[in-house]
Amino acid sequence: MENKIERKGQVIFSGYKYGEGIKKALKLSPQDILFELRESKLRGRGGAGFPTSTKWMLTAATLDPEKYLICNADEGEPGTFKDRVLLTEYFNLVFDGMVIGGYTIKAKYGILYLRGEYKYMVPDIEAHLEKMRKDNLLGKSILGKEDFNFDIEIRLGTGAYICGEETALIESLEGSRGEARNRPPFPVNRGYMGKPSSVNNVETFANIPFIVMKGGKWYSKLGTEKSTGTKLFSVSGDCEKPDVYELPWGTKVSELLELVGAKNTKAVQVGGASGQCIPKSQFDRMLAYEDLSTGGSIKIFNESRNMLHILKNFMEFFVEESCGQCVPCRVGNVKLLEGTEMLLKGEFTFEYINKLKELGRTMKIASKCGLGQSSPNPFLSILENFKDEVFNQGMEE
């Protein structure tokens, strides 16, 4: 598959020399790296935006000698393809970032959990890992540092969206059905094989070498106060240049739309299927954890699109991709899908739709994992933001 990168920003695509970050990192102590990381205010790029320094600190602080560092390359969020770009052309960054992570949290094992559909990448990645081993950047006593052994293993997923959720990912790694676990305990305390594990997104790792090289302060100056650095956005839908863009956090939706050549835009879905759908009136909002948070997916819809068709599509996705273990998600999504179909036919009562909205709010707080907790987002946001359109269908036909 061909990758296209439309806009190279100041971090990820700014150029990097293989192994540099590891060399620098090994001259520092793990504490130093954690300090820089905290200064950088880097937050996880997998969607939830958890501060990476905190996650690593918690994992590093556990006494268990056996720990795991897991790279989440499941990239299952519809409309996201930025990890694919990183893993095909920039694995330098990702794996250097993992080695630095292994050094920081004192893990011996790294696991790349690769989306099944990305199997074709395995030979290239293996070759790269082999090269790293030859160059003593991976394996035993890395760069001569006696007590630092770290290696990376590739494990393939089998195409379930839920397996991107970190605890379901861990279950899948252990050979069980991909189902989210109860929390607490969190993976940083009890993760893979019951051992402390840090699960991070591909892009999160890709940022690490730069933070080590240029310092946390430098990094924190990019983006906004609460969302530092740059972000890779996977832009798709009704626009001229649907590609991967590296932009600083804080970029306005309208700016992005201009950049990608989007015309007559009616709605933008920020954050994939489980994200929010915003109308024109909100296009001056910014892409940032504190406003419109996203793991990278931006879908653009122009005036020709029917919002209910879009919603139906999302809800069908969730009905199918729910792991099926908890009631709110397994059954709730079916009810929201049925509600969407009612709206499409124009056969609904407001009373029932309001009940469904209430159900959606319950799903957000009562579901077991992030899937069910966010799957009502498109339903709730489309019904809220596109009232005129969604409540007047079926009747026209």
Partner: protein, 638 residues
Amino acid sequence: MEDKNKNRVPLGQKPHIVEKPKDPSGIGGTITVEINEKKVTVPMGTTILEACRENQIHIPTLCYHDDLCFAGVCRLCVVEVEGMATLAAACAFPITAPIKIKTSSPKVRRARKHVIDLLLSEHYGECYSCIRNNNCELQSLAKEYGVTDYTFGHIEKKRYEIDDSSFSIIRDLDKCVLCKRCVRTCIDLQEVGVLEAIGRGHETHIGTFLDKPLADVICINCGQCINRCPTGALHEKEISNEIWEAIDDPTKHVVIQTAPSPRAAIGEEFGLEPGHSMTFKMNTALKRIGFDAVFDTNFTADLTIIEEGTELLMRLYKALVNKDESVKLPQFTSCSPGWVKYLEHFYPEYVEHLSSAKSPQQMFGALLKTYYAKKLKLDPSKIVSCAVMPCSAKKFECNRPEMNDSGYQDVDYGLTTRELAKMIKEAGIHLPEMPDSHFDNPFGDASGAGLIFGATGGVMEAAIRSVIEFITGDKAEEIFEGMNVMPVRGFDGIKYAEIKIDHVGPVPDLIKHLVPNWDWVKGATLKVAVAHGTANAKKVMDDIRAGGKFSQCHFIEFMACPGGCLGGGGQPIPTNEEIRKKRAQAIYAEDAGLELRKSHENPSIIQTYKEFLTDGPCGHIAHKLLHTHYTVRGKYIA
């Protein structure tokens, strides 16, 4: 304590994820939290659910079960924890910080109501046409939360076919709420692992390997899943209609044998607290229902002790005296059909260790259509032989093709305690009000040894009471205080005991033709073990396979169900360790009050050998009728 933390459960569901301190009174051992603005102090690692229960705060649950590891999937027990964006599942949330909890806030109540509404929307059928009507957790929850209509609709078409392939267990997935208690029971509590969730999203359902019918997979029919199913999705294959038909047919002579465990539990079906023994009231009820004769399975339990005990002595004799290396030791008990099938599937190379003695149910069946028929001049083809058992696997057992040594199917119908309770109710009888009546002759006597078969360790205790007297000539009550063999009692998953034989007596008449004297056991130590629940059986078997301590035992009692038969898959629902303990108490109390407490002293047994099994224990007649063989099954599924 039965161990809740087994091996095969996915790590994410292990219950004691946060270990509780061994000594909560130590520093940092406890923590104070606020529940509904009330301060309570609990040991570190206590779950919110446990903390609430200890403080009389009711939290509704569905996927949680006292016997099982956590799932946290139904989301009914959700509570608000201050500072958390989402609700927490009380059952799976270990307390490790001084949190503030609200158990009944508007958000919480709304969420619970939503969960119930969602479940009901997919729950096919109506309560009044369900086997679990009035004993269904979903139904109770609907009542508790004031459900009066179907907020999100109600499913009108069945989505799944009923799986009635098994002799024992029926699966009706349209009633399933996917709480996965059955899955956890099967894989974690029992370590059988036949059931698992299959499919994703809305298509998720509980299935077997490749969704095969239950009869074609390695299900051992223990029915523990039934006991823990909150709804009617799992139940025994009911045969009461067939029995009613037989009773109503004047040409049929319908008899029933009753095992010890149903009596200790059936009161629960009539609103009594667990732990009431209903033996003689049940006899009256059975007569009033219309059974022509009511027999006590304890009689054939006594017979089992004689046959199985003799077999053990013979094996020991052959091994120790004849130095016959083909003799298989330890000998395993064979009265639990769930255990037998478990062994046939999981440790097929050990089937020859099973005692060839049939279970008490099957011995009775064989005698009824031969000895009894002859004695009463009945046409055996007109005898309908029923058995009320605490067990779902007994239904499978009586249908095993080899169980027809009488020339007919030895036992026609195995009936669970629950089914019998229904028959009694249908006959308009309120069991607790019944007067007492006795068992029928010619098998009117049964010993306490047969009775305690119902509890884990009971078979072993009964065997010890007889075998020790056979060998030493001493009275069992002189060796064990109150005749209670304490080391094999109790609910520890695995029990082990050694009995030193320092002197021997004369060989009793009954088996004189088999062993000349006891000199060869003098000074020996009899080593025995007891395991209940197949997860514990697995531990023992793995140890034997590895040549460990249990491989040195002479005799091991295995029961498929936790607690033994009293915790069987045919017993009243609900079940938990407390209930099982009360049933055990009822059984042991009844034994303690009996005159006759040793199998070999049972006059009916002595008479049966005299009149019918004339060539004695393990003789030709006994072998033909009372002994059986097993099937090497393995785990391969065609």
